[in-house]
């Protein structure tokens, strides 16, 4: 079943001669239980694409259907609820709240869903236990490693039980081992919990985790193949300038 359906999506920033055409008619379906890698060079339009799919940026034209609901053209006031009910975000920079402990970082996501007090504390502890951070409930983000921070971010993204997770370079700031742990987690979430997961990445170490790899170039989808069809070497053409860690064999 389709979790995300994008049809002829266009996004233009500005107007006239200075207009920037970030997306020039993108078509993309993402299914439940699928882990999709979205590749592209800087400025190719991948951030714009996940911003629109995530309901935090409006498209110029086209369609974007999230679990059966069209979001293009919806008023801004309706989008927070769509995000809250359907989408969990994982960011390259983790975007944790430095003033809150790991448990409180997860609780804030539950607070948005209306879950508070003891129930929220218990649920946050369960989620952190699930990502292997049971011992770090009262630790502040500053005292965590990069991998641990990203696991807190995953626990936070899962707090609302979203059927779709959008992850932006989740392994870029991590060492190989931490990156593998994160991808194991995301793969488990896709395959065992039927979530649709879109990972924007430059990191060719994680290609093996993908069910499908989609490449976006100059605002258009240039390649869309299942991992079985894919020859990993052909994807290496993706610029890797922003990969922050040494590539593993």
């Amino acid at each position: 079943m389709k979790a995300i359906e994008v049809v002829n999506l266009v996004k233009t920033y500005g107007a006239g001669e200075t207009a920037v055409h970030a997306l020039k008619g993108v078509d993309l379906d993402v299914f439940e239980s699928e882990l999709l890698l979205l590749l592209g060079a800087s400025g190719s339009g991948k951030t714009t694409l996940i911003s629109i799919v995530g309901g935090i940026l409006s498209a110029t034209s086209g369609n974007c259907v999230i679990r059966g609901r069209e979001i293009v053209g919806l008023p801004q006031s309706k989008l927070p609820k769509i995000r809250l009910e359907n989408i969990g975000f994982i960011f390259q920079g983790f975007n944790l709240f430095p003033a809150l402990t790991t448990q409180e970082n997860v609780e804030i996501a539950l607070d948005l869903k209306g879950v508070r007090g003891g129930k929220a504390k218990k649920r946050a502890a369960e989620l952190l236990e699930r990502v292997g951070l049971k011992e770090k409930l009262k630790t502040f983000p500053a005292d965590l490693s990069g991998g641990q921070k990203q696991r807190v971010a995953i626990a936070r993204a899962l707090a609302g039980e979203p059927p779709i997770i959008l992850a932006d370079e989740p392994t870029a700031a991590l060492d190989s081992e931490s990156g593998r742990l994160i991808m194991d987690l995301l793969q488990e979430l896709a395959h065992e919990q039927n979530r649709a997961i879109v990972v924007v990445t430059h990191d060719n170490r994680i290609f093996d985790y993908a069910d499908r790899i989609v490449k976006i170039e100059d605002g258009r989808i240039s390649k869309d193949e299942s991992n079985e069809q894919t020859d990993a070497a052909t994807w290496m053409a993706v610029p890797s300038a922003s990969v922050n860690i040494p590539q593993t064999a």
């Binding site: 995000r83 975007n95 709240f97 409180e104």
Partner: protein, 376 residues
């Protein structure tokens, strides 16, 4: 939500101190400048404001009580039969008296003469001596503020020369300021008449206490109908006239007023800048919350909670410091009056300034470039 708002505020101590310092400075600046302005108002109007009289009869076109023109005391007898009047007394307030100092030079004083049995228009804040002492011939009360520094008066019993007549210090008042910075000297009506060489059948003012519950406007009209060439004013009307003359009509008052207005503007700018910076510092977190599904209302509540908590803490610190400054100032010549009305007004102003500033910052938070949250 409240947890994030409060914890964000207290997480970075340096930023908190910077934020609070900005608001505290703003509160103190505004409180002190408005306190000085209140001090000027009090100095220019207290002689009337604290007179305990409901109505004042003054010579026509008097702009301020210190320069009234004599009129016949027969006016007093024309109105005593009016039923709404409980008591009417003659009163003198004059800037035109000089006291001889020990070095032979003269110092201008503000002389107030009142009916000591009536309790209207006389001395207040008496710290030494009694009204009975003041009834004696030539007896005067001097305010301590300038008694020693300007007049060389240090003790009860000291004999001085007032308008070339002998006067004897019978007591002291404390903290009574006159707009012109002249020392305030109180005496009986008779003594004042004598010091000013006035005719015995003349007065400068008549002060009136109305029967309780009597409509003052009606009483004013009844009195005015019986008199000619004088004006009848309520105490608040004369206070207003005094304030306008001294505060608006003189350069000094305007200067203080402008300084007070500037202090409010500077205060608003400081608070706005401080709160805005504190909010913008967390802009990425607000962007993350938005991406997570927070509504703009949710963000408003966080930002406004932080602004109000910052404002409350800073207000308590700022107003405490201002009250100490005010207390110290009351011992000196420049009165900074921070009364409860000013404290209340500043409290409301501080909270409004903080909330208003955060509203500007909220616009920034709710119109965040969405791609920002994806940048590493």
């Amino acid at each position: 939500m409240a947890s994030l708002a409060i914890k964000n505020l207290f997480h970075e101590k340096v930023r908190l101190v910077v934020t609070l310092t900005g608001i505290v400075f703003s509160v103190i600046l505004t409180a002190v400048q408005l306190g000085i302005f209140q001090g000027f108002i009090a100095a220019s109007t207290d002689i009337v404001g604290k007179s305990n009289a409901d109505l004042w009869i003054v010579s026509q076109n008097v702009t301020h009580v210190e320069q009234g023109v004599e009129f016949s005391e027969s006016n007093l007898y024309k109105i005593v039969e009016i039923k709404g009047i409980e008591r009417a007394e003659k009163q003198i307030v004059s800037l035109g008296a000089q006291m001889k100092k020990s070095d032979g030079s003269d110092e201008g004083i503000t002389l107030v003469g009142s009916d000591l049995d009536g309790g209207m228009g006389g001395a207040w804040n008496i710290v030494e001596g009694s009204l009975e002492d003041l009834k004696k011939p030539d007896a005067i009360f001097v305010d301590k503020l300038y008694a020693e520094s300007k007049l060389g008066i240090t003790k009860i019993g000291q004999v001085v020369e007032l308008n070339k007549r002998r006067a004897r210090v019978a007591g002291f008042t404390k903290g009574i300021r006159i707009f012109t910075s002249q020392p305030a000297v109180f005496t009986s009506f008779k003594n004042a008449q004598s010091f000013l060489n006035m005719r015995e059948d003349e007065t400068l003012y008549i002060v009136i206490k109305a029967v309780e519950g009597k409509n003052l406007d009606e009483l004013k009209s009844e009195i005015a109908a019986k008199l000619e060439n004088v004006e009848v004013l309520t105490r608040s009307e004369l206070v207003y006239r005094q304030g306008i003359y001294w505060v608006i009509g003189t350069g000094a008052g305007i200067t203080v007023l402008v300084a007070a207005a500037l202090a409010i503007i500077v205060g608003i700018v400081i608070v706005a800048q401080t709160i805005y910076s504190a909010t913008v510092d967390h802009i990425r977190e607000y962007g993350t919350l938005k991406a997570m599904g927070a509504t703009n209302f949710y963000l408003y509540r966080i930002i406004i909670t932080q602004a109000i908590v910052s404002g409350l803490i800073a207000f308590v610190i700022g107003i405490s410091v201002s009250l100490v400054i005010s207390r110290i100032s009351l011992e000196g010549t420049l009165a900074i009056i921070v009364n409860w009305q000013l404290v209340l007004a500043l409290f409301v102003l501080t909270i409004l300034m903080c909330c208003g500033s955060s509203v500007v910052a909220i616009r920034k938070a709710t119109t965040i470039d969405p791609a920002m949250v994806f940048k590493g």
